[in-house]
Amino acid sequence: MTVFELVCTILLAAIPAATSLLYVALGELIYERSGVLNLGLEGTMLVGAVTAVYGQTVSSSPVFAVLLAAAAAAGAGVLHAILCVWLRTNQVVTGLAFVVLLTGATAFWGQSLVGQRVDVDLRISQTFPGGFSAIAGTPFDQDLLTYLAVVLTIVSWWWLFRSVSGAKLRAAGDSADVARALGINIRITRVVAGAIGGALAGAGGAHLSLVYASQWQENMTAGRGWIALVLVIFARWHPGALLPSAYVFGALGILQLNLQAFGVESSSYLISMVPFALAIAVLSATSAVIRNRPSSMPADLGVPISWHVTAAPRVRHPVMTLET
């Protein structure tokens, strides 16, 4: 096998490895842009994963399974949003509680699904054998959910930065007070963002269980939700940066497996460490380079909105403190 073939093999494998990360991170990015931090991604993903396998077993339709997964996970997202936005629970604690709660709950609900065979092949060379059979075996022969993830990321990019509703969503995350003054209903905005974030995390879970691992097992996300959380920060809350970041992480995650299979002698532990070392390096480098520019983190991320809609804006900015 030539090096070119090896590169093709790695690309072919890296792209689906990144898909679930991309979905979950995109959902979290949108939700965080509206100002709410959801640490419960691992749990939301599991909801998607278990529901997808359930949907597939009852209907044998992958489309239905993915939609059901997205709907169920959107429910979890809305619940998170209601807790954090209306009831103003602590977002960190709520998110962590969601991880524990949903890990246990999905393990419980999914007991009968463990050991179910999942026969789903969504690769486009299989789904549309007429038109795409020529690309079988090339890096372009990916499953439909993978292509959809790329499309959704680009659409979100446009939506967040080029549309009015996207601007309103970002305003809710950057300054709830200003957004409110502009007449934006912050609670509705954040709950809708929570639903979108949940649905995307569910689709990521569905990809993992239906397409990637082809099974349901309790706690099968094995930390992918946490990596997605890192990815959002890594991409500095921007879908355009998220797309390549997710593929870099996906590729690094499976690189060591392919090198081992190719016969390269190396420490698999060392290569497994690379994505995280890289994350720290890039975070340090970017923060050093753009120290003087405003952070791209939504300014009101994690800050619960004030209970009284009529309350005066909170005095937080140093400039404003000086004026008073």
Partner: protein
């Protein structure tokens, strides 16, 4: 900060509810296994004043529904219940991390008057040793352990015998002479299984080479599938998973029409078209042997709970229709020879994959030495 006391109270209550629900879900699910399964069945024997049942608790470090290593242990406890009925009360606790949690859970079991703790993962050893030293009345069984104490016995099964048999099948069935192995970690418990598989294969086909891909996780179906995929892409035409859970490997084999050797439990339902055969743990027999001794007050920690085909602690899962009769015969002969002791996996001369002789001609490694193997046999990349 705005302070609306009512809102704050409401928030606190809700948060408390979520946390409580989380704790319930977390504590409830894995432990839900079988405490009530032995609930009073009024049999004739039960009417007679009986000593209270032997309380047995089993800890595994992964989910007990994994169709893999952990489920094999949980299934074994069902065999124990069937065998002893209401003379035992069994608890199975899955997904216990090998950290401080293991000690906390074992301590709670001890407080609840458990008689026998079965620690079914090597990583519990230090915890078991520590608690056994301070709780003389509680008996411990430590999987793969090597630090016995008066109330702490060790057990393990000679899975390498089953792997050797699978190697014979794989060595006969491969066309590319390249076997692919997905393994969890590059540590001895994986290596003595990999070596046995490859030695079996090379005993019938000296041209066989094997490639190993370690995923560096005990449990990650996604990575296991990716690793199997990578090996198949490198022209491995028989693949297997030396993992706690090989279901993902089986599904990938099925998808890519590549022969599979199963592991842990019967995986042919996940890969019906490509499963050649597979290894199987039979912990039930081992636990029954141990509990039987305890019931007769004849237990001591030196009881030999190490065995393979001879004692019935390992098995193979049957043969796929593509395996020709001559190969089945060869495999069955090997099983019979393991059972009567005329065949052994680790008898020299054995060279490692760097060409060094690691077992001299005529020498046979002891079970303890095999458990500590840190080299890979020749033929493994």
């Amino acid at each position: 900060m705005t302070t609306n006391p009512e809102a704050r109270r409401c928030r606190m209550i809700l948060l408390a509810a979520v946390v409580a629900a989380a704790v319930l879900a977390c504590g409830g699910a894995p432990e839900a296994a079988t405490p009530a399964a032995t609930a009073a069945k009024p049999t004739a024997a039960a009417v007679v004043a009986k000593p209270k049942p032997l309380q047995v608790a089993l800890l595994t470090n992964g989910p007990i529904t994994d169709s893999g290593f952990n489920q094999a242990h949980a299934d074994a406890m069902k065999q124990v219940e069937q065998k002893f009925g209401d003379r035992v009360a069994v608890r199975v606790i899955g997904s216990v991390p090998e950290t401080g949690d293991a000690e906390r859970i074992m301590q709670r079991l001890i407080d609840n008057k458990v008689d026998l703790i079965i620690a079914a993962s090597f990583g519990y050893q230090d915890t078991s040793v520590k608690l056994a030293a301070t709780n003389g009345k509680v008996k411990f069984l430590q999987a793969w352990g090597f630090k016995p104490a008066p109330n702490l016995g060790t057990y393990s099964s000679q899975m390498y015998e089953a792997w050797y048999v699978q190697g014979i099948i794989a060595g006969r069935m491969t066309k590319s002479n390249r076997l692919g192995i997905v393994a969890a970690h590059p540590i001895p418990p994986m290596k003595w299984q990999i070596n046995a598989f490859v030695r079996g294969a090379r005993s019938v086909n000296p041209n066989v080479r094997a490639r190993v891909a370690y995923i560096n996780h005990w449990f990650d179906p996604g990575l296991a599938a990716a690793a199997a995929d990578a090996l198949i892409s490198q022209r491995c035409d028989v693949i297997t998973g030396v993992l706690d859970n090989s279901v993902a490997v089986a599904q990938t084999a099925q998808k890519r029409k590549t022969y599979l050797i199963g592991h842990n439990t019967d995986l042919s339902k996940f890969a019906p078209d490509v499963t050649l055969s597979g290894t199987q743990w039979v912990w039930g027999q081992l636990y029954i042997d141990a509990i039987d001794r305890i019931g007769q007050n004849a237990w001591n920690s030196q009881q030999d709970l190490h065995g393979g085909f001879g004692k019935g602690y390992v098995a193979v899962t049957g043969f796929g229709p593509m395996v020709p009769a001559s190969v089945r015969k060869e495999a069955e002969t090997a099983i019979a020879r393991f059972a009567d002791g005329s065949l052994s996996v680790y008898t020299g001369p054995i060279r490692d994959n760097k060409g060094k002789t690691v077992v001299a001609a005529g020498k046979t490694l002891t079970h303890g030495e095999i458990m500590g193997i840190d080299w890979l046999v020749e033929g493994v990349r």
